[in-house]
């Protein structure tokens, strides 16, 4: 299986380590139902037969986290992007040579 890293190009899956589901997001801890929400966030996962989004870390390459779209039945990969989108340009003003 090869993963199309947006920085490095097409690379063997052995260069990556796998984290899992990229569709869950951390709930706010001050919500009234936080305990229930965190239970779902930490423990419960869908197990789709088909298209899925997963986190892969390119440890042996550019050392970036990627979100990879993979078909769990065929291992066909339809795309990959950086998990960390470039942040809004808030700190630019502070960066001076």
């Amino acid at each position: 299986m090869r993963i199309p890293c947006p920085y490095c190009g097409l690379r063997d899956a052995h260069e990556f380590s796998y984290l899992g589901d990229a569709t869950v997001s951390r709930p706010a801890p001050d919500m009234p139902d936080a305990q229930e929400a965190f239970f779902h966030y930490v423990y419960l996962r869908e197990n789709p037969a088909g298209a899925h989004e997963e986190l892969w870390y390119h440890a042996a390459g550019c050392r970036q986290w990627l979100v990879v779209s993979r078909d769990t039945r065929t291992h066909e990969i339809s795309g990959a992007s950086f998990a960390r989108a470039p942040k809004a340009d808030a700190s630019h003003a502070e960066v001076k040579p």
Binding site: C8, R11, A60, G61, R63, S91
Partner: protein
């Protein structure tokens, strides 16, 4: 040759010399390059455009876009990841390299001296690609990997940065220093059948 490699301490570099059959000219020439200074350049978020301007203005080089190299005089930058570069200065040591980069980039990038952290191995000779076909998991065919291209990848499970320095071809590898003995063992094992000449490692 496996007997020789069995006798060298696992922590020692492979001694310089000729490995494999004696041919009129070696198929592969491998050299550990000394008198190089290395530093990582980590550009602060949102400062890439500014650093590109500063590189052009103060160092006279176009910041590489993606996994590629750019050189100006004795200074080379290799793209290692988004907003990450390895700087290589020839004929100088770490302190003056950091001074030069710091003068150019100021607070737009974090600099770390890697002169003690990595060794640089250069490969040339007519059978270089045949040797690397056994070691490097990416395609080095000149149709897809050309002079000026770079890649962070694995060789014998060792994380390396490879870049092509010349179409001849000449390839260079930055290898973590403590892994270089194992890297050289894999290299000599792969290249010996073509006749491999190793220099720059002294008596190992």
């Amino acid at each position: 040759m496996s007997e020789l490699l069995a006798e060298i301490p696992a922590s020692a570099l492979v001694p310089e010399g000729h490995y494999g059959p004696r041919t009129p000219a070696p198929g592969v020439v491998a050299a550990q390059l000394s008198q190089l200074a290395l530093a990582t350049v980590a550009v602060r978020p949102n400062a890439l455009d500014l650093v590109a301007e500063l590189a052009l203005e103060k160092l006279g080089l176009a910041l590489p876009h993606g996994p590629r190299t750019a050189s100006a005089g004795d200074l080379t930058l290799v793209g290692t990841g988004p907003r990450r570069f390895l700087a290589i200065g020839e004929g100088i040591t770490g302190d003056p390299l950091l001074e030069r980069l710091g003068h150019a980039f100021g607070k737009t990038a974090a600099l770390t001296d890697q002169s003690d952290g990595q060794m640089v191995i250069q490969l040339s000779g007519p059978r270089t690609r045949d040797t690397l076909a056994k070691l490097v998991p990416i395609d080095l065919d000149p149709s897809v990997f050309k002079a000026g291209d770079a890649a962070a990848t694995l060789v014998a499970l060792i994380p390396v940065l490879i870049w092509q320095a010349d179409p001849a071809p000449i390839y260079r590898f930055a290898v973590p220093r403590s892994f270089t003995p194992a890297f050289l063992r894999a290299l000599v094992g792969a290249g010996a059948e073509f006749g491999l000449q190793l220099t720059g490692t002294g008596r190992g």
